[in-house]
């Protein structure tokens, strides 16, 4: 280095310049990191709030079952139909209903052909076909599902894998319909083979658009390499969840004629999926987690197929139950279930929420909300009565338990809890074990619980999935628990990696800055939607800080008010610049801010109707309700049913809508062809069907929603 005096000046100047630039750049990076974290927070809080909604919906139905006194037997049927969504099928009946052998595969069909028993060539043909976006013929789908079910039935609840036999065992986490990620995993890691075992840890379906293709591929490999491929059930392998999160919709869209059958079969395949996998007797792989009451012995012995949906909480009065048993089995069975329990005692009343504390005391309020929800959930749990094993003729093992005097004496409820915990729990850093009130099912389990269970069963390690992680995986509990999540870009391009994922081509060319901006945009869009949906509540909250009615509040009060309404636990002050654009001396004109939000959402007329807002806020609940009503997945419900649905809905949501109001609503959307309502059209009219592209906004001029808005706009 040249140390001449002139150079020295330069060196020192260059040095200082370098420090400056570095200082500035590090600050830039820190801001980016903060934005990244905040965005993540937004997605997570919205997602969990949504899941909680789902549970509340079920609570709502359970409550109805007990307390709704139908004014006519028609109404009673209507309600009870919501619960008996699985008709009692015996084996033979199932085969008959989901028969595929009579289906012809036309010559014009260019997709892959399957024949059984399956061979590796079939798998490669399928992979190729799906890459070309082809669709497998419904006949083969059903055939595959039948064979899969036959195979799964012989498997125990807990699969065992040994690394003696295959050199490698690979565990994949949630895939959620993202076929590209599965392809990537196979590409990087290799296809399943006698020397390459795979464990797929649940949540194959929902959210992503290719859930069915994933199932087909997984089941195919399962049948070709039964010793090497293992599937665990996840909480999304549950038809009630599928109704809400997109899988049911996907199937019906892809298979318009045979979709119902396919869904029915899948329902009966999911319930036969094993619950857990044990590797070398040392590593336990389950989808969700554990609880302090997890009992592997019980898990091994219960009849897992009884739990078609883990979410359904329904109560049947004693008399109903007997009647049903007789109908199903055609003979007088013992009233007591195999576990020897007495019939259910009469039910305690649903706990009425006490008067809510004022919203001004936010802590109190949050606590009260949490408590109330918890009470509701607990109450429903006490109600739970798992469906009779309607689907199966008694198998050998169940006959044995009927007569075996040493039969375990646990209750249905305890069995149900075991499964619920396995599929829904999450780890937490604090010690202990408590209700997972965020998801509404399962537990939060601490490192002490992990240690205890690992010791009890002489295990080394727990692998689970169920939670999206930014890097695709995460250790916790002193590295005794590993979370694996395989669906990359779960929320949005760039939001997270999958555990096998390496930046795909598109994302790789994005710089970190661009990736974060894009994800952020998506997160904020979702957040603004939520804000809009709570417009009325927000206005009240703001007014509380604006006693003089100036129309303005401080930004600080804005943040407090928003949290008190949305309860998302987000850092609102940090997020404010993205949500509130114009302020004057730190004050916000809240009315015009809300109007801006509304305009964004609709991009055309302003919405004043509170009804619309309520619908918007509860749209996924609405959609779920509709799909439950439409049992045959035809897309049509009768006008009667629609009417009754609305009545239920409005009583639950405290909307006032007269019968005339409903009629107006209906008439304006041109229903009433044959007294049937195409509720997809209805949802579309409110733009409740999520759109991935916003180009549709441009086509909007004569959109039914405009006419509707003018009807309701007053």
């Amino acid at each position: 280095q040249d140390h001449s005096p002139g150079c020295f000046c330069f060196c020192s100047l260059a040095f200082k310049a370098a420090v400056l630039i570095q200082r500035w750049y590090r600050r830039y990076v820190a801001r980016l990191e903060m934005r990244r974290r905040c965005t993540w927070r937004i997605f997570q809080s919205i997602e969990y709030a949504c899941e909680q909604d789902q549970i509340k919906l079920h609570n709502f139905f359970s409550y109805l079952m007990d307390h709704f006194t139908p004014s006519s037997s028609k109404e009673r049927d209507f309600i009870s139909r919501m619960f008996i969504s699985g008709e009692s099928f015996k084996e033979a009946e199932l085969e008959k209903y989901c028969d595929y052998e009579s289906m012809e595969v036309p010559d014009s069909y260019t997709g892959p052909h399957l024949s059984f028993p399956l061979l590796p060539d079939h798998a490669t043909a399928l992979l190729e076909a799906f890459k070309q976006k082809q669709q497998l013929h419904a006949r083969y789908v059903l055939n595959l599902l039948h064979e899969t079910r036959k195979h799964l039935k012989q498997l125990p609840n807990i699969s065992h894998v040994s690394t003696c036999y295959s050199e490698e065992v690979t565990v994949c986490g949630d895939l959620h319909g993202q076929l590209d990620d599965l392809f990537l995993i196979f590409y990087k890691n290799g296809l399943p083979s006698p020397s390459k075992s795979y464990v797929f840890n649940g949540d194959f379906v929902d959210r992503g658009k290719q859930s069915l293709e994933i199932l087909i591929i997984l089941f195919t490999f399962l049948l070709i390499y039964p010793k090497e491929v293992h599937l665990n059930r996840g909480n999304h392998e549950d038809h009630m969840v599928n109704l809400r999160y997109g899988f049911a919709k996907e199937v019906m869209q892809k298979y318009k004629v045979h979709g119902k059958k396919i869904l029915k079969m899948i329902q009966n395949v999911f319930c036969w999926l094993p619950l857990a996998t044990l590797i070398d007797q040392k590593v336990l792989v389950i989808h969700g987690g554990i609880s302090d009451t997890t009992d592997l012995d019980m898990l091994e012995k219960i009849q897992r197929n009884k739990f078609i949906s883990v979410l359904r909480g329904k109560k049947r009065k004693e008399s109903n139950r007997n009647v049903e048993i007789q109908e199903v089995n055609g003979e007088k069975n013992a009233e007591a279930d195999p576990a020897g329990n007495e019939a259910l005692p009469s039910l305690p009343l649903q706990p009425r929420p006490a008067q809510a504390p004022s919203m001004a005391n936010r802590l109190e309020f949050s606590r009260w909300v949490r408590q109330t929800v918890q009470e509701q959930i607990e109450w429903c749990r006490r109600l739970v009565d798992i469906s009779e094993s309607e689907d199966e003729e008694p198998t050998y093992s169940s006959m044995v338990s009927l007569t075996d005097l040493d039969a375990p004496c646990w209750t249905r409820q305890e069995e149900w809890k075991q499964i619920l915990d396995i599929l829904w729990s999450d780890p937490m850093p604090q010690e202990g074990c408590r209700e997972n009130t965020v998801r509404g099912g399962g537990c939060y389990f601490g490192p002490d619980v992990t240690a205890k269970i690992l010791e009890k069963y002489n295990l080394q390690f727990l692998i689970r999935s169920h939670e999206c992680k930014q890097e695709g995986y995460e250790f916790c509990h002193n590295r005794k628990v590993l979370t694996i999540f395989s669906a990359s870009n779960y929320y949005e391009i760039g939001s997270n990696r999958g555990a096998y994922y390496q930046a795909n081509k598109a994302a790789h060319t994005l710089t970190m800055t661009q990736r974060i901006s894009r994800v952020e945009e998506s997160a904020f869009r979702a957040l603004r939607e939520k804000l809009f949906a709570h417009t009325s509540a927000l206005i009240s909250a703001f007014k509380a800080y604006d006693k003089d009615n100036t129309g303005r509040i401080t930004l600080s009060n804005w943040a407090t008010a928003v949290e008190s309404v949305l309860h998302l636990g987000l850092p609102w002050r940090m997020l404010r610049p993205q949500l509130v654009r114009t302020t004057e001396d730190g004050m916000l004109e809240y009315k015009s801010w809300l109007d801006d939000l509304a305009m964004e959402q609709r991009s055309q007329e302003r919405i004043q109707s509170s009804l619309l807002e309520v619908i918007y806020r509860n749209r996924s609940n609405l959609e779920t309700i509709f799909r439950i009503i439409d049992r045959d997945h035809s897309g049509l419900i009768s006008f009667e049913e629609f009417h009754q649905t609305w009545k239920l809905f409005s009583s639950h949501m405290n909307i006032e809508l007269t019968d005339d109001g409903i009629n107006d609503l209906v008439r304006s959307i041109d229903f009433n062809k044959d007294g049937n309502i195409d509720f997809n059209e209805f949802l579309e009219a409110f733009r409740l069907v999520k759109q991935t592209h916003t180009t549709a906004k441009a086509e909007n001029r004569d959109h039914p929603s405009q006419q509707l808005c003018s009807v309701l706009g007053r």
């Binding site: 310049a17 570095q22 750049y25 990076v29 974290r37 590593v283 965020v438 995460e474 390496q502 970190m512």
Partner: protein, 233 residues
């Protein structure tokens, strides 16, 4: 047991994902002197193992509490405290009012401050546990220190023109750009050197791959525009 579990390189902290974590976190470069920059050895950043991320979020109450307690006094101070608590909580994964010491830099900077690494170390010394290093910083200690920082307006932002001059100072030939090699040399060998990661990221944002140069004027305007003006005034 040879179970090969699923993994990919751990995100942005490549190469470090599978190192066994020490029971106690090392203090960030204990050798970092408080004197003038330049004496910090290159690569002074802490060995980066995967940071803890905890379980899903729980309700945040601290900002609310600050509202209830701090009211009546100086409204501005209360507001500043709320901002600090919010920023803190974003990194508080276990919801127990502590953050990993390695995140303090991000928190301080996202609150609008531009400290040098050395200044950051000074600040850290004030907020860390005195008895033994646990690797965590508690909100109790952080809040008063940070509040003072913001009230005193320490670590002020760098105005755009000053930044431009800095780049120009490195641009010996005054041609309006720096070659990749020049930039890398300055950033990784002088001042408070960048880690490889930091260098890579800066290049990915600013480097024109065809000419292998960074046109710093454009670079600055691109980077500065992206930052929303929300510094505490």
């Amino acid at each position: 047991m040879k179970a090969a579990t699923a993994r990919q390189g751990g995100g942005r902290r490549d190469g470090c994902a599978w190192q066994p974590r020490p029971g106690r976190r090392p203090r960030p470069s204990a050798a970092a002197p408080r004197g003038p920059p330049g004496t910090v050895p290159p690569g002074a950043a802490v060995e980066r193992g995967p940071l803890r991320h905890g379980s899903p979020w729980r309700r945040r109450g601290a900002a609310a509490m600050a509202e209830q307690e701090g009211n009546g006094e100086d409204g501005a101070v209360a507001e500043i405290e709320k901002k600090i608590i919010e920023a803190f909580e974003v990194f508080d994964h276990e919801c127990n009012k502590t953050v990993d010491v390695r995140e303090i830099g991000s928190i301080v900077r996202s609150l609008g401050c531009f400290p040098t690494e050395a200044e950051l170390h000074e600040l850290l010394a004030k907020v860390e546990e005195e008895e033994e290093p646990t690797g965590y910083v508690h909100l109790e200690k952080f809040l008063p220190v940070m509040t003072k920082v913001l009230l005193d307006r320490s670590y002020r932002p760098i105005p755009e023109d000053v930044l431009l001059h800095a780049f120009e100072a490195l641009d010996e030939n005054k041609c309006g750009y720096l070659t990749k090699d020049e930039l890398v040399k300055h950033m990784t060998e002088e001042g408070e050197p960048f880690t490889e990661e930091e260098m890579e990221e800066m290049l990915s944002n600013g480097l024109d791959p065809e000419t292998n140069t960074v046109h710093y004027r454009d670079y600055i305007s691109m980077m500065i525009v992206e930052e929303p003006e929300d510094l505490p005034q």
